[in-house]
């Protein structure tokens, strides 16, 4: 997906107006001032399905030897934030459950550490319900970032009014709208743990969110934090289906299926525009990064996963 053809490469550099400068400058931090029109670079960093894996996997682990670790993610995020002016750090759900940290501290450790890392927002995964609705509401005092979900109706529950249906962020002159979609809970979460929560159809809700964020609020970038899962071999709801069945979503950052994507996937939406979908495995084994270059006046958006090895790639 998202093949690197000569024509779109040329367009990319033409728009940036500095193709030659780009070449051979791995790690070069793009300066928007150099472009003819002002391009703002927005760096999205994201995780999913952290599952309480605060410590790295040991070297003896058969699948993920020596990978992961909150302290390392913290260091990498801080490094990128020193390099980039406009970043957002986002999580796509299932922060809870997977190591003794959760059994003993009920989410406090994960949420406090993620707050310290500077997360800007997260969405709710099915395992956030593992200790019931109180297991979420009672731990929220440990977090300084919002939970965003748009398709669970918490009316009449302890979470009523505590979960944001969407949130708007401003970076430079760019307006970024973020909404969140969670997976069907029935048959997945024990009914006593999600009692009173109403699940609404993700596509229906996404359309309403896009109307609000893109049409009414005039957001330049619309991001969906999803815990629906990447793909489905049946016709179940998933990020691919969501992208194809809607319009107006620019990026879907995903979770739930623990999918480790080599490159972000690009899917055409109902308007034949590209939607970028990314997901980075689980347990903090990777940090996702998508850089956007946005020209607010012309409505132009360019996405790249990163620039660090751009030189290497161009030789291919």
């Amino acid at each position: 997906m998202g093949g690197f053809t000569m024509s779109n490469r040329r367009d990319f550099f033409k728009k940036l107006g500095m193709g030659s400068l780009f070449l051979g400058l791995g790690g070069y931090s793009f300066s928007s001032k150099a472009a003819k029109n002002k391009l703002t670079k927005i760096t999205l960093l994201h995780t999913n399905d952290m599952h309480s894996h605060i410590d790295p996997f040991p070297e003896s682990d058969p699948k993920y030897p020596g990978l992961g670790g909150f302290a390392r993610i913290n260091a990498l995020v801080k490094k990128i934030r020193r390099e980039e002016e406009y970043t957002l750090l986002l999580d796509c759900g299932d922060i809870y459950q997977g190591t003794p940290y959760f059994n003993f501290f009920k989410g406090e450790a994960e949420l406090k550490l993620m707050s310290k890392m500077g997360y800007d927002a997260g969405t709710i995964g099915n395992h956030e319900f593992d200790n019931g609705l109180l297991g979420i509401s009672s731990q929220m005092k440990h977090m300084n970032f919002p939970f965003i979900n748009s398709n669970y109706d918490f009316t009449g529950t302890v979470l009523e009014g505590k979960i944001n249906p969407y949130k708007i962020f401003f970076k430079d002159n760019i307006k970024i709208g973020i909404f969140g979609l969670g997976v069907e809970l029935e048959g997945l979460v024990a009914s006593k743990n999600c009692e009173g929560v109403e699940y609404n159809d993700p596509i229906y809700v996404a359309e309403k969110m896009v109307a609000l964020l893109k049409d009414d609020e005039k957001c330049d970038l619309v991001i969906c934090l999803s815990h629906l899962g990447y793909s489905s071999d049946t016709d179940d709801m998933c990020d691919i289906k969501l992208a194809k069945s809607t319009s107006g979503i620019d990026v879907i950052l995903g979770g739930h299926s623990h999918t480790l994507l080599e490159t972000a996937t690009r899917v055409r939406n109902l308007d034949d525009k590209e939607v970028v979908i990314n997901q980075v495995g689980w347990a903090g084994i990777a940090l996702g990064r998508i850089d956007f270059y946005i020209d607010k006046n012309e409505g132009i958006k360019l996405a790249s996963s990163s620039l660090h090895s751009i030189d290497k790639r161009l030789e291919a």
Partner: protein
């Protein structure tokens, strides 16, 4: 339709390799669009002492308990379908735990088969020492063990579920999966008897319809064992290890895909 070419100029996915060290042996190539989180970040990570201290605050509270060695595994065990070393190990242990329980409680029956969903096995077991903490990672949920009695005729619904799931962790049963259906089913070496009542050890989550399992509804009897799966597995592994038997498992074709 491309109305405005510039409008959808997501030019392309310019992918980078990795922020720091070369991608060594860790599934090379997989991480090339996103950052791998590995030891090359340690030097930087340790500089944020406030962050490290916050982790330690939680870690020191549980480490002494979590670092206890429960047993030793002769090889790495991973989960997978239709059968796997890890799911076979847990399902076999559950069958033994169930039979032990029936014996201790002077029940007129034992357990005929065990069922555990692969989705409930949340990490792999490495070769070597297995700590309490590792078994918490493998079985983090607070799921409790239950025994249910079902007629063979009703058990067929459960077998259909196992087939639809392309296999789950089972013990005491041998079955093929063909076109999404269970075939050549043998329980305890015998053909399925639709009139006989079979006893199954599983977890409350599944029996209550978790993971899409809704085939346990028609049953003859139901018993809570009042113990968590994790605690039962830890106790079972500990007892065996004390008598010199470590964690081991094998693939024996208990669930297979028939062509």
């Amino acid at each position: 339709m491309l109305k405005h070419l510039s409008y959808l100029l997501w030019a392309t996915c310019l992918i980078f390799v990795v922020a720091c060290a070369p991608q060594s042996q860790h599934e090379a190539g997989v991480f090339d669009s996103n950052f791998s989180i590995d030891s090359c970040l340690d030097q930087q990570a340790l500089k944020d002492t406030a962050f490290i201290n916050m982790i330690s605050l939680y870690k020191t509270g549980i480490d002494s308990q979590m670092n206890q060695i429960v047993s030793v595994s002769s090889e790495a065990l991973m989960s997978g379908k239709p059968e796997s070393l890890l799911s076979n190990y847990i399902a076999d242990a559950m069958l033994e735990i169930g039979n032990q329980y029936c014996l201790e409680n002077h029940l007129a029956h034992g357990v005929d088969l065990s069922i555990i969903n692969n989705g409930g096995l949340r990490t792999s077991l490495p070769k070597g020492a297995i700590t309490t903490g590792k078994l918490f990672e493998l079985l983090p949920f607070e799921n409790k063990l239950v025994i249910i009695g079902m007629k063979g005729a009703d058990l067929k619904n459960v077998l259909r579920y196992l087939a639809a799931k392309k296999g789950e962790g089972v013990s005491g049963i041998k079955m093929g999966i063909k076109d999404g259906k269970a075939v050549d089913v043998k329980i305890g070496g015998e053909k399925l008897d639709i009139n006989k009542v079979y006893h199954i050890i599983s977890i409350d989550y599944l029996v209550n319809g978790g993971d899409g399992m809704n085939s346990f509804e028609k049953r003859e009897n139901f018993r809570h064992m009042h113990m968590k799966l994790r605690e039962a597995i830890i106790a079972h592994a500990k007892t065996l290890y004390q008598s010199g038997i470590g964690i081991k498992s094998e693939l024996d074709g208990r669930i297979y895909y028939e062509q």
